[in-house]
């Protein structure tokens, strides 16, 4: 059986910045356990001699010229933001108030 415990689901959800309800934790834990057991078969399929493929079509050295291209305007940049102020994106305090 897999190691997908409710605690692990909470930890992963934290890393992924998703608030999860207790019900979700329980549901994800059981579903993920099944999925992980199933996908874990890849471990048995490979060995150290096999190279990993991260790009399906091998390519290298694709570079861009160091030439300035037009940027967005400030208004375009901020157009989708929930909140902005003084030309900047506005976010809640980063640290908890003590």
């Amino acid at each position: 059986m897999s190691e997908i415990t409710p605690e692990l689901v909470r930890h992963l959800a934290g890393l992924a910045r998703i608030e999860v309800t207790d019900a979700e934790v329980a549901q994800f834990a059981s579903q993920l356990a099944l999925i992980v057991d199933s996908v874990a078969t890849v471990k048995a399929a490979v060995n150290d001699d096999i190279k990993a493929t991260s790009h399906p079509i091998p390519m290298a050295n694709v570079f861009r010229e160091d030439v300035v291209r037009p940027s967005l305007t400030q208004a375009e940049a901020l157009s989708g933001a929930a909140e902005s102020e003084s030309g900047r994106f506005k976010v809640s305090a980063i640290l908890d108030a003590d």
């Binding site: 790009h55 290298a60 940027s71 900047r88 506005k90 980063i94």
Partner: protein, 501 residues
């Protein structure tokens, strides 16, 4: 920890061995950002040098700046590194509001350069070889402004504002291996190392290397262990150290703080710490923990970087000489004593003086002006010398005016003030302010005659051969000429006149 609670520095070093490690981030001065065509410039209106890519908009993709790769390879070569046959970008995943994609495109297990070394001379003259573990490419984050609470501090802020102009600016992060054996010179070594990195990237022309603008930033890892102990101590990583002086102070502070804690039997916490220039102290930041799981994986939107041997050799051929070699050459060329030269290096004025000499000044004059008057003004204004509005060529012009007798030292200082005030080049200021030395003997003789008439007893003494008595007359004449006279010429004329009469 308040400063009076720290362990005495010498005492700390009697008991503990210091190990430091330095991570220096260098911002490259390419025209465009690392992964998009937005302009890489400092100080523009917020969020005007941004595009879908550097804002992390859905669907946007990175495109690698070839010039940034070239510059990174140059840095690697200048640090005697191996250049990777295959380098790859990786994603470093973590959430932070200044990180548009919530991952940083960086390099992980395949950095562009690795296994280098650099010789660093500390103020005592001792030379340490610092080993470089790796130099890798990555992108800078945006800039946060914290609003509310105490000014600009993240603690207690009500909210924060984000400007992504800096997001995506190319960075090269240079990481040293642990540095052992620097002893009580560890703080100086740290500062001297960063100075050398600055010098290298500046001479390579790949970075503006202005620390006050964050072009070069240093994170200092410090750990201590009881002498004789094999196991390394727990280290702290002090961030936000953005001047050479601060690096030295921060490392010293951490040594003393950690020594104090260990001597009390308190364990060191592995954490990031922040340096506060005003208080001269570090404070606790974020603890490092298991939660720091960056889930690195190869950036699927980019293909590997595989620099050819020919390209690497081409770039190697363009490298300027190494700092240590350059220093040796310049000291010989300029004929400075060890003390004079070290003073220049420690004041971080090597480039300025080199450029001033190249602009025509005599080395000693260049040294005198930079380490003397210019440094004094920078100090009194609490500025970095590079922030002053004066160029090496202007300093050379002033030195030349003094050399040719057109300016006295006092007048030259006035010209310097004019240059710093933005009044123009030295020659223009001399003309505008009417500062040129009075070389018209007629005007001088008129003044001399007047003074000699007022002081007949002095005249008598000079005539009797007591030449030193002339000093009083010279002083009065200089005063009468408001300083715009060449004291040596006045002296000549005084003696001539006195003997004539």
């Amino acid at each position: 920890m308040a400063k009076d609670q720290l362990m005495d520095y010498q005492k700390a070093l009697e008991t503990y061995e210091v190990v430091i490690g330095l991570e220096v981030h260098v911002e490259l001065n390419t025209n465009t950002k690392m992964f998009c065509g937005c302009a890489n410039v400092f100080g523009d209106e917020p969020n005007t040098n941004v595009c879908p890519n550097c804002l992390g908009f859905p669907g946007a993709m990175p495109a690698v700046n070839g010039k940034a790769i070239e510059n990174s390879i140059k840095i690697g070569l200048a640090l005697d590194c191996e250049i990777a046959a295959t380098g790859r970008f990786a994603r470093k995943n973590y959430f932070y509001p200044d990180l548009a994609k919530n991952f940083q495109t960086s390099q992980y297990d395949e950095p562009i350069a690795f296994e280098g070394k650099i010789d660093i001379e500390v103020p005592s003259g001792k030379v340490f070889t610092v080993e470089i573990e790796r130099a890798h490419m990555e992108e800078d984050a945006g800039k946060l402004t914290h609003v509310g609470g105490s000014t600009g501090r993240i603690q207690g802020a009500e909210f924060s504002l984000v400007d992504f102009n800096r997001a995506g600016v190319p960075l090269v992060e240079i990481v040293t291996k642990p540095i052992y054996g620097a002893g009580d010179e560890a703080p100086e070594l740290a500062a001297a190392y960063v100075r050398s990195i600055r010098e290298i990237v500046k001479n390579l022309g790949v970075s503006d290397a202005r620390m006050e603008r964050g072009n070069v930033r240093c994170d200092a890892n410090v750990s201590i262990r009881p002498k004789g102990q094999e196991k390394l101590g727990t280290r702290t990583e002090t961030k936000n150290v953005n001047s050479l002086r601060s690096i030295e102070r921060a490392v010293k502070y951490e040594i003393q703080r950690q020594a104090q804690l260990l001597s009390q039997g308190t364990a060191i916490i592995q954490e990031t710490r922040h340096w506060h220039e005003d208080r001269g102290a570090t404070s606790s930041g974020r603890p490092k923990s298991d939660a720091d799981d960056y889930r690195y994986f190869p950036e699927p939107d980019l293909v590997p970087v595989q620099p050819s041997k020919e390209w690497i050799e081409q770039l190697r051929a363009t490298l300027p000489e190494k700092p240590a070699i350059r220093r040796k050459r310049l000291q010989e060329l300029w004929g400075f004593s060890d003390l004079e030269f070290r003073d220049v290096v420690n004041s971080d004025l090597l480039d300025e003086i080199d450029d001033t000499v190249k602009a025509g000044a005599k080395p000693q004059a260049a040294r005198k002006w930079w380490t003397g008057e210019v440094a004094r003004i920078a100090n009194s204004e609490d500025k970095d010398i590079t922030e002053l509005a004066i160029t090496p060529s202007q300093v050379a012009q002033i030195a030349e005016l003094v050399e040719s007798g057109k300016l006295t030292d006092r007048l030259a200082r006035e010209v310097l003030t004019g240059v710093l005030a933005g009044e123009g080049d030295p020659a223009e200021i001399v003309a505008k302010r009417g500062l040129e030395v009075v070389s018209d003997d007629g005007a001088l003789l008129e003044a001399i005659d007047k003074v000699l008439a007022e002081q007949p007893e002095v005249l008598e003494k000079i005539r009797e051969g007591k030449v030193q008595a002339a000093g009083a007359v010279i002083g009065a004449v200089m005063k009468a000429m408001a300083g715009s006279a060449d004291a040596a010429r006045v002296r000549e004329l005084v003696i001539q006149r006195a003997t004539e009469k």
